[in-house]
């Protein structure tokens, strides 16, 4: 089973994905938006949030969900440090001595950590072992019809500098000023989750954990998405730049084999997705789940989880 989700969310005054810091200026991630003017391409930079940033948030939700369900999470991942068994030092915490059989290495990692099972890993020693992530996230970009209204503006902030005992200023000014760029946009992004990859070897060794645990891990992966979207716990600087806004539209599709919702950056994405699903059903006799809402996103996610439960999949 394959889950594909299209999300549109409004985020005003957000600092969800910051990139470089030059002196006292912290910049928001941006991407070029190409506009044609008099048959010439012009570039406008709009705020963006990388898929990597969303993926981190998703995996962090998965840690919490997994721990609540008593599923294994390794020491590194439990701290939110997603090293993913990248070298001997990290792998040794899972299996010691390290075997020289890649299938044994893979099995040890998958058994001891759901995050690396779902989010993939790369053990870059000899023999190298890699596993692709079972989920995929696109960049969150301003939806196209409103991209030109998206902005990134620096906000001035002040921080007190420490004075010496006599209150003399010396060379230090009393206040340090700094700037944080905040973005405002209606964003859209796509999230895919390949549920069939969970708990199964990517080296051709079949299921690595018992069926019951695979089902539990699938459920945890879905709940993690639920929690991430519903709590809006993604991106950076949430403690002071928690964006004003929320999910405005959510579309969820579950199919037997891979199928991706049309990106919500396009205005007609819901209708297009629906039409394409009909083609799949007609041509291949494949069942699907589809739901879309601009009211209560949690309801749509709940229905998708119910559908998978009915199918005996979780």
């Amino acid at each position: 089973m394959f889950l594909s989700v299209g999300v549109r969310f409004e985020a005003n005054v957000e600092a969800l994905n910051m990139v470089e810091t030059a002196g006292n200026y912290t910049k928001h991630r941006r991407v070029p938006y190409l506009v044609e003017e008099d048959r010439k391409l012009k570039t406008i930079y709009v705020p963006a949030i990388s898929g990597e940033s969303l993926a981190h948030a998703y995996q962090w939700s998965l840690v919490k969900e997994a721990l609540a369900m008593n599923l294994p999470v390794c020491e590194d991942c439990a701290k939110g440090e997603f090293f993913k068994s990248m070298n001997k030092a990290h792998l040794k915490k899972k299996i010691n001595p390290i075997p020289d059989d890649s299938k044994k290495i893979e099995a040890a990692i998958i058994k001891s950590c759901i995050i690396e099972d779902v989010g993939g890993f790369l053990y870059a020693e000899k023999p190298p072992v890699r596993r692709s992530s079972a989920f995929q996230v696109s960049y969150a970009l301003p939806i196209k019809s409103m991209a030109l209204f998206a902005t990134a503006e620096p906000q001035l902030h002040a921080r007190h500098a420490q004075m010496d005992a006599k209150g003399k200023k010396g060379n230090v000014s009393e206040q340090m000023i700094y700037y944080v760029e905040t973005g405002t946009a209606l964003y859209g992004f796509t999230f895919n989750l390949d549920l069939d990859a969970i708990g199964v070897s990517s080296l051709g060794a079949g299921p690595i954990i018992p069926e019951e645990e695979i089902k539990a891990r699938r459920e945890a992966s879905l709940k993690a998405l639920f929690r991430m979207l519903s709590s809006a716990q993604f991106g950076a600087k949430l403690s002071r730049f928690f964006p004003v806004g929320g999910i405005t539209e959510l579309t969820v599709v579950v199919t037997e084999h891979p199928f991706v919702v049309t990106s919500p950056i396009y205005d007609s994405y819901v209708e297009r997705t629906k039409k394409r699903l009909e083609v799949i059903k007609e041509a291949f006799g494949e069942d699907y789940f589809f739901d879309s809402t601009n009211e209560v996103p949690e309801e749509t996610l709940r229905k998708a989880i119910e559908y998978l439960k009915e199918k005996g999949y979780i």
Partner: protein
Amino acid sequence: MVSLISFLKVEVRPTGIIALRSLPQSKMRNAFRYPPPSTLIGALAYPLLHIAGDRTETLEPRRNARSSADRIRPLIEWATVKVSGMPRVYGSILKINRLHRRSVESAVTSFPMAVMYGESDYTLTLLYLLNDDLISASEFSVKDFERAAWGISRLGSRESVVSVESVELGKGTIMEKEMAETAYAFLLTGKKVQGGGVVQGVVDWKEGIGNYSKARIIVMFYPEGKVEVEGRLKVIDVGEEVVL
């Protein structure tokens, strides 16, 4: 003698960004503007193996690790792409701070990617020429290939999510010609081109997909719009357009 070949024409929409690292396993920050054939085959292999219930990603991990896409490589004669609009390669500068032996180190890097995001709606048309004989002798059917095409979910790295908007399965006639017009990418060697485009060196996927450290490089031409090509051409008509 007229010979026919099956083709799959797959129209995909990007989610705005396509990240194609030109050397997958290296730290070199380089990006392709257009997806090379190996990426196109990998993109189709993933849903195809999903249908087959095969979760293998890496073949022969011990010796010469290859991608499982290599399993379906012989079934595909050729893979090419047509891109509407001009993608732009863009890499935002990142500053990375890390703690190393108790001191803070700082480095500047960037992750370039092809941006297909703007006023116009970009589409990529992926075109696969299938080897019918080998497919009918394999565990897959052409119908499986058609469903797999609907399931293409990304091109390149995991941020490059795409959605498939239409799939057309058809038969094309192979013709020998001296001159043709095409918007699809083709092998440049031995051909004269009139029109704009980008030349990209890509790995020779016929030699195997997955381990590129010793792979041969082939030169592809990615047209911007339609170009005129001269040479000893093998041309396949795929509806209103031709592929070389």
